[in-house]
């Protein structure tokens, strides 16, 4: 896997992509517009993004909307594959409360992982509650 950065010009070429890890602290203080811009910037650079934590549900749907608006306008861009896996499976009320307190203190759900990749590279993300499988395009 070679590392290559740049704009959308390399989209679709499986030879050049990288996996980028983004700690939640990188987006914690950004507003929704800035978060989505940052994420799309990474994905358009032919990167698979692994984000610590998760976006708000309204940010997720905005990301989908913005992605749709880019199809046909950015060369070779066909959309994204997106999956969120949460490590917090609360068994009882105490667990639930503990998780909520941690979320408030850390200003985000740090027990979750979000994976976002360009659809030209990530063919499918298979997921169940405890596992994510990334199927890459040939």
């Amino acid at each position: 896997m070679s590392k290559k950065r740049g704009s959308g010009k390399n989209l679709g070429k499986i030879k050049g992509f990288s996996i980028q890890f983004l700690p939640y602290s990188e987006i914690r203080d950004l507003n929704s517009n800035e978060r989505i811009r940052k994420i799309l910037g990474i994905v358009l650079g032919n990167n698979i993004l692994i984000l610590q934590g998760k976006l708000k549900s309204e940010e997720e749907i905005r990301l989908i909307g913005d992605t749709m608006a880019m199809i046909g306008h950015v060369k070779d861009f066909k959309g994204i594959e997106l999956a969120v896996i949460s490590g917090n499976v609360e068994k009882n009320l105490v667990d639930k409360m503990r998780t909520e307190i941690v979320k408030v203190l850390s200003r985000g759900d740090l027990g979750a992982i979000t994976i976002i990749g360009p659809a030209t590279i990530v063919k499918e993300i298979k997921r169940n509650p405890r596992k994510i499988e990334l199927l890459l395009s040939k």
Partner: protein, 213 residues
């Protein structure tokens, strides 16, 4: 979004205050090819004799929001008035090449893909305008699809009552229990929009849903 939540809140208060019998806006949301239009068609046909839109095996057949107003659903002596809103399927990716395998010409496939992307944007814009939503999932598919989770998460954040429907239970591969396991906090009804299986339970759930407004 906050302004819309407040607007809906006050609209609901005034509506209850003057007891207006207004149409309940019932949206059909879900991923492409789950059977949203098939379901909306069956309801409309049952109560108005007319369908809402065309269906097809090719994904993204519905590429713009379509309506049917003044649909009176009757169940066990009770009647509710709905405005049915059938929305294009929400997806995170659309590749025109996927349509080529349905013997579509390249130009036609590109046009369909373009309209489909606009349809997704339109569906998202309409989210705030719904009173209640039926999320239609294909019971033969893995329910842990992020699109399903994102749609439901957004409806909950907007305080819009949700009913999840597992469609296509007439197919052998279908497993509505899997949907129940994926979304344990929500009402899930397994149906077949194609042959009308389990529609009694579906209509009962719709009436329960309308009470949550």
């Amino acid at each position: 979004m906050e302004i819309k939540i407040f607007r809906n809140f006050f609209r609901k208060i005034f509506s209850n205050l003057f007891n207006n019998k207004k149409e309940i806006k019932l949206g059909f949301y879900g991923p492409p090819n789950a059977g949203k239009t098939s379901l909306a068609n069956r309801i409309c046909k049952d109560f108005t004799g007319q369908e809402i839109g065309a269906v097809s095996k090719i994904p993204h057949e519905t590429r713009s929001v379509q309506f049917k107003e003044k649909v009176e659903i009757k169940y066990k002596g009770k009647t509710l008035l709905f405005k049915m809103i059938d929305t294009p399927g929400i997806a995170t990716k659309i590749d025109y090449e996927d349509f080529l395998k349905y013997n579509m010409k390249r130009k036609e496939a590109k046009e369909r893909a373009k309209k489909a992307t606009q349809g997704v944007i339109e569906s998202i814009k309409w989210l705030d305008d719904m009173d209640v939503v039926v999320v239609v999932l294909d019971a033969t598919e893995n329910p842990y699809n992020q699109v399903n989770i994102t749609i439901i998460g957004n409806l909950v954040a907007r305080k819009i009552p949700v009913l999840i429907v597992g469609n296509k239970i007439d197919l052998r591969k279908a497993d509505a229990k899997k949907i129940e396991a994926a979304f344990p906090e929500y009402d899930v009804v397994g149906i077949s929009a194609k042959d009308g299986k389990n529609f009694e339970e579906f209509y009962e759930s719709i009436f329960k849903l309308a009470k949550k407004i």
